[in-house]
Symmetry: C2
Subunit: 927 residues, 2 copies
């Protein structure tokens, strides 16, 4: 036996194999004629450094400076020392910088002041540390005052620099936060002023003195006034900030490897606060919200970047600059053209104007909404700036669900929040907007939905399959416990319901029927509440919502627009469909879900859960009767009621899917999920069936399992009680026969769940084929069908060569496969899994994205072994992972035939599948 | 990636590759000078046919005949047809037979009568069909009457033959059983007689007539009177009997492959009922009960085999034959010598004496008790008939536990059963005899054990870890639910307690404190009850017991005997130890268990479960306090109480084991196992800790998990609450340091459970090493120790290359690994797993013997990958499988360093490990 090859995704492999120099060096200059060592190299220079180098190369005005590479950082983090030779390189770069600017570090007349900033390969906004105005000391203060013609500003800069340096570089904090702020507040109080800008020069000097005294007290050393010492301290601090807690958490949340390290950019300070001819601003080359091709941004006259951030002054829209600073505006429009030409994408930029002279401080890929991403990518193709394949790579698959989610009408939500109605914030588990009256149990939700036209929001501590009827009857689901892949979240997404999950800030009390916010507000059953499933906000009261226009257009409930988002959505989906190798199917159990799935591009159903069909009252009753039956005769009687009802269900869904394949999974959950577990429910059941309560309780106790996930369900159940299988298969194939008779070329695929051995599948296959033969004989109509199995038990993957002998298809059930392979119950893992992900035990939550090292190895094994036995074996995935972009790419690389996911994730999967294909086909240097 | 090689055990591989002929032929003759085609070939001829051929070759007197091979049967079962050419071969053999005997099929004067019997490779007594006196019809009846000089006998033989043929070959049965018996009873009633032998010739003729009429009515055909037709019908029936229900169940229970098929032996009839010079009997070449070298058996004069079976006459001990039939006796003694010489083992034989002439009908390996097996094997070595290695293969490892189990004193049990005190029969889950007073809860058991000297038997519906204190306080455990590997069974075997599990015939009611047998007898708490854990019998009342002499001798509580079973037990164990490659360790948590383990040959402890140490009241209270703690400070306080207590425990067990390695597993179970789950227990807890009941309930609810097996336990728990790990590791290493100080060269090994990723282990390893360093610094004593991990989660096996980077050893936890790999909860599987095994979905219950195809593949992978990373990686197994012979052989073939099992299984594992080594070393033809 040989070990498996590592299957790093092609993308990542290529990413990491970008050419690196044989002998590392560590500094790259830019600006004012200094040639960068590399230009477009985010890996080494970080996003900021790479952007500056590129702009420098393009001849755009950037304040000169240099970038210390991530290599140096990695070396420092590993060894605790700066790499040998880095100091000479920095000295050399500093000299070049001084020469270029004709200023000098520590020069009292023409002092060189620099900013020191972090910059990782992928932007981590606000996560790491920055030091501005580095180089200030008693000597250089006047130089700055002269340069800015503003002693007060110079003093304030020095005050800020001292505090920033004390905090960031020297690490002076106390339990109350920043002790420098405390000193400042003291002085303000003494002076009787409210805002910093009211501090006079004298006070500022006193503050600086106190700051320096504090630093001396805390560090037992005088504040370093040598600019070179300051610089080295700042570089070290920025390197170390890579490993501060917020940066670690951010990386963990955003799947950024810990090994990357950050670059450090040292850049000459420019000043936007030198009067009315100066200013600062940010801009996007296109509208980041809509994607429209207009120059979008804002600026402040006579201000520095911090003033924009502080929000004390309101910036002006960039269009106003046209009148106020026409030449700078013209220059910016030119910059915009140059950048879009070079990057072939929407960029954002930060700029400062110093005495009418424009300086660009940063450029990077502009963040955008889903709608904007689609618009920009498709427009760029129409503008012939990029290819269709490139356009596909430009849209984050996750972001396009934004186009399909329900929305709050008008500005209702804004007003509600302004009115103080925000109750809490939970996880944005099911995107979109929902408003309705509160119900605290499934029954109540169903009742309320029946009794009134008011939409219902179901609030539960957590949901279980018992709640499905209630979830179906509701427009939104709110839970106190459970993560992004909790039962509530999964089912909500499949149903396309809005969901805010794991909202621990609320106390949901189902018994007394109320929820309480942290600040003590109480909402009762029947009260209106609104959920924003895209942000996780929970708001008291009613805020009207509506379906998004894109979705209405896709469903044909409004006409396609002429040039709206729906047109562009269709356009990019069409391109994705032209490119992708894998098929995309839907997980759907009901005709309306099937219709939705087709509208969103489903090419079949990959998972129809028959148990979801049992939640109508008549069917549920029959099912319960079957479970409570005292012998085969009673059981048969109950199942006889089920047969025509299930046949009708299957007829509906098969008809909706037409000639597309429909994979139907036979009964999967354990029987106790069909029975109530609480006293009240048991009583109701006893009444319904005129049985003694004791007997009901006994039966329910009998069905109790210590680990139901590993218990009596799936094919284990249908093996012991084959009548259930027979009724389901008969219902399906009779419905299929009827539709064939009606000329619909239906393609049912029968999927056996929880198979662990070939023999289990063989027994089921035999039974299925016998029923099919029987129906064919009676009807004289041949319905083509397949028999296959879920691969969801590790043993099934390990013995796939055997199992493939009786399976015409495999479908990976990665939810259960993950739980078993990792020995981790999804429902119970919330107590430790977040800590696991935070500590990088797993790169990503394995219930969100496939654990490629563990579960992925089993999948690869199963694909290989299964196709060894049966080269034409059809293989798909129907776990929730089938709609997650990274997992979709993994499935593509494994050679799967299709992915299947909830209807609302279908566009995500289509796009992700296309991206996977493009990435595989692109040559490394085209990435 | 290439698929793994199949790892059939060497033994089975060799077995199946025994030379077979290129061109199959199907018949082998024997007896009276007819040369067999093969002699010692059970695969082709079955046990019976092979024995007859061998005896024939050895010149021993066997009635002539021929055997149709298993090849023919396999062909028949596959195709439904006899293989081409078989008919000619049978014709030829029949001709030879007729010539040899000078009798002919259907000849009225000298008719050839034959028996037709099944004979599989492994004996399946009574499972398949037999037809005697085949060849009888109107013509040959007189010939038989003349040959036996007894018309009544001839008629009775024909009656029996007709019924047997009608039943076995023609398949005539009805729902009441055998319709032939009904006819017979009718005639007896009419005649007013009670026993068959009182039927007169006239009545017998009438019975035969009625039999034939019934057959004609049922089959619409006349009874076949042509002997050849009879023969072919019988052959077909025997072949088909391979697949009857009882045979299938038997094979399933005894792990005999379905593909083997049976041979058919056709043999001339001989008659032991031809007068006082005739007779029939069975004998063993040595005493099958004690192994003593005496000729052992019994016989009946003037009788046929059936008479022995029927039990209507009492046979005589074989020694009596010496006087009654001296020459036959002398001849039998000679046969005994020849057989023992040839087989080198104790054989049993069946014989018939016809008119003073001895015929051997069968010989096979004699079944024996564990004590006899050991005695015979060791004696044969001393007699220089076999080698030590061969002797090791002669003893079934399972059987030697019989030598160690407690026994009922004298004939107490026999008398009790004769008195009608047998209540029920359950599973023989923990061997030995136990008697005591009933307790229905763990608390009660503890109380009763404290309050009185009477031993306690704990009766529970099923047990959980809460019951461990109670189990420890009891001498025997009785459960209503659960199989051979239920919690009760596993813990009982580890503790060496007698256990009858899954005794569904009893209704155990813990609440009202009584148990009820099927026939309504009720035993209450405090009543005496006795358990035979070797047979599963549950008997009302007290039956005195005692430890077996072998065990007392091993423990040194009696002096070794001079030539008793204890001497031979030591002898064979010594040979096993000389041969085996793998080490054998014990799963033990207490010093007394450790002492027992060493006495039984343990070379270390492979699994010390620290949680079992928490079941003393003080420790349990501290643990509960820790769990209920409101913050780190309270938790630390509780753990401070634990530290010295655990240190004392570890001191005890380490000291007992001396310089043998001791693997200690850090806390594994979920926290809720330490808290009561019922109302009463919660109230007690609230009182104990002076906490509001509501708070206790809330905490217990918080800890509730839907699938605890896959939940918050093992290293997940110690990662989130590292204080627990710290206390345990500190307690262990401080105890070890103290012992080193005292000159004991202890070797602790710290094992982290439930590891699924390398990072989890790395975090724990770091913590362990930090504590060790700290203790070393303080004490200035260096304790060598290892850090390793359980491999019990599939992902751990799949990523073993990674995990081995931080592990100095692996220990397979095949209990959990099986549950997760098969997706099957041990506790919940009883509803379907028996059916699975019965239907051969699994060859053996995977919780009893390792599932080699599934779990075994992961194990092989982990061994391979682990040693790729770390070639000297120590690998063992500490699941209950480590004491199961087939699994031990598998571990040997995988290259494991040791197996670890409960103390009482250690001799089993030692022997099984030796057998695995011998089998691997032996050349195929020596097997």
């Amino acid at each position: 036996m040989t070990p498996p090859k590592k299957r790093t995704s092609k993308f990542l492999e290529t990413f990491h194999s970008l050419p690196r120099r044989a002998k590392p060096h560590y500094v790259s200059t830019f600006g004012q004629g200094m040639a960068p060592a590399w230009t477009d190299n985010k890996v080494l220079l970080g996003g900021k450094g790479s952007g500056l180098a590129l702009m420098s190369q393009l001849g755009l005005p950037v304040p000169p400076g240099f970038t210390i590479t991530t290599d140096a950082c990695v070396h420092f983090l590993k060894t605790g020392k700066f790499p040998a030779g880095m100091d000479q390189e920095i000295d050399q770069a500093l000299k070049m910088l001084e020469r270029a600017l004709d200023r000098k570090f520590g020069d009292p007349e023409a002092p060189l002041l620099v900013s020191v900033r972090s910059g990782a390969q992928i932007s981590m906004p606000g996560m790491m540390d920055t030091v501005l105005n580095l180089g200030l000391n008693d000597n250089t203060l006047n130089g700055l005052a002269e340069a800015t013609d503003n002693m007060r500003f110079a003093l304030d800069s020095r005050r800020r620099f001292t505090a920033m340096y004390g905090d960031v570089v020297l690490g002076i904090t106390d339990e109350h936060g920043c002790p420098f702020d405390a000193i400042l507040s003291e002085h303000k109080a003494k002076l009787g002023v409210e805002v910093d800008s009211d501090l006079d020069e004298k006070t500022l000097k006193a503050v600086i003195k106190d700051y320096r005294a504090l630093i001396k007290k805390e560090t037992k050393k005088t504040f370093p006034d040598d600019p070179r010492k300051q610089l080295w301290g700042a570089i070290r601090a920025v390197f170390e900030s890579w490993n501060n807690d917020r940066a670690k958490v951010y990386r963990s949340m955003n799947q950024i490897p810990d090994e990357w390290g950050t670059a450090v950019t040292v850049q000459a300070m420019v000043f936007g606060n030198r009067g009315e001819g100066s200013g600062t601003g940010v801009a996007f080359t296109r509208n980041p919200s809509t994607g429209e091709k207009d120059f979008y941004g804002e600026f402040l006259i006579n201000a520095q970047g911090e003033d924009v951030v502080a929000g004390t002054r309101t910036p002006l829209p960039i269009a106003k600059m046209k009148r106020k600073m026409p030449s700078v505006y013209a220059q910016l429009l030119e910059v915009r053209e140059v950048l879009e030409e070079r990057f072939g994408d929407m960029q954002d930029l930060e700029f400062t104007i110093e005495d009418g002279k424009l300086f660009l401080l940063q450029t990077r890929l502009g963040k955008r909404t889903g709608a904007a991403a689609v618009r920009i990518a498709t427009d760029l193709v129409l503008e012939k700036k990029i290819s269709k394949e490139e356009a596909l790579l430009r849209v984050d698959p996750e972001s396009i669900t934004q186009l399909l989610s329900p929305v709050f009408k008008g500005s209702g939500k804004k007003r509600a929040i302004a009115d103080g109605l925000l109750l809490a914030k939970g996880l944005n588990a099911g995107p979109g907007a929902a408003t309705g009256v509160l119900a605290f149990s499934a029954d109540e939700a169903v009742k309320r939905a029946k009794a009134s036209k008011d939409p219902v929001i179901l609030a539960r501590v957590e949901t279980s399959p018992d709640d499905i009827r209630g979830m179906k009857a509701s427009v939104g689901i709110l839970t106190q416990h459970g993560g992004m892949t909790s039962h509530a979240a999964l089912v909500a997404r499949q149903m396309g319901k809005v969901c805010v999950a794991g909202c621990g800030q609320l106390d949901i009390d189902s018994r007394s029927g109320c929820l309480t916010s942290r600040d003590g507000r109480v909402l009762k059953a029947g009260d209106w509440i609104s959920l924003d499933g895209s942000t996780g906000e929970v708001i008291a009261g009613k805020i009207d919502t509506r379906r998004s226009d894109v979705l209405r257009s896709m469903l044909g409930s409004i006409k396609p627009s002429k040039d709206g988002d729906d047109v562009r959505f269709r356009r990019i989906m069409k391109w994705a469909d032209q490119v992708r190798r894998m098929n995309v199917r839907a997980n759907a159990d009901q005709p309306d879900q099937a219709t939705m799935a087709i509208a969103l591009g489903a090419e079949g159903i990959g998972l129809c859960r028959t148990e979801h069909m049992f939640f109508g009252e008549r069917k549920l009753k029959a099912m319960q009767q079957m479970i409570l039956a005292k012998g085969p005769a009673e059981r048969a009687k109950a199942l006889k009621v089920v047969l025509p009802l299930q046949r009708k269900d299957f007829y509906g869904i098969l008809k909706a899917m037409g000639s597309r394949p429909v994979t139907v999974r036979t009964l999967d959950p354990p029987l106790h999920e069909f029975l109530p577990q609480d006293e009240k429910g048991m009583r109701g059941l006893a009444e319904k069936f005129k049985m003694p309560l004791k007997e009901i309780r006994k039966r329910i106790e009998q069905l109790h399992e210590s680990n139901p996930m590993l218990g009596f369900r799936g094919c284990r159940l249908t093996f012991v009680v084959p009548e259930i299988l027979e009724v389901q298969v008969r219902a399906l194939l009779e419905a299929a026969t009827q539709l064939r008779k009606e000329g619909v070329k239906v393609k049912p695929e029968i999927m056996i769940p929880l198979v662990g051995t070939r023999a289990e599948l063989a027994v089921h296959e035999k039974l299925v084929r016998a029923i099919a033969d029987d129906i064919r004989k009676t009807s004289k109509i041949k319905v083509p069908y397949l028999v296959g199995t879920m691969i969801e038990i590790p043993r099934a993957a390990l013995t796939a060569d055997q199992i493939a002998k009786n399976a015409e298809f495999f479908s990976f059930g990665t939810n259960d496969l993950t739980q078993m392979t990792l020995g981790m119950s999804r429902d119970d893992s919330s107590i430790f899994l977040p800590k696991y992900v935070e500590n990088r035990f797993y790169d990503i939550n394995p219930f969100e994205s496939i654990d490629q090292d563990g579960v992925g190895t089993l999948m690869e094994w199963a694909v290989y072994q299964g196709r060894e036995t049966r080269p034409d074996l059809k293989i798909g995935i129907c776990g929730e992972h089938g709609g997650e972009p990274r997992s979709v790419e993994f499935c593509h690389l494994l050679g799967l035939d299709y992915v299947s996911c909830s209807p609302f994730r279908i566009p995500v999967a289509r796009l992700a599948a296309a991206q996977a294909t493009v990435r595989e086909l692109l040559k490394p240097n085209q990435l």
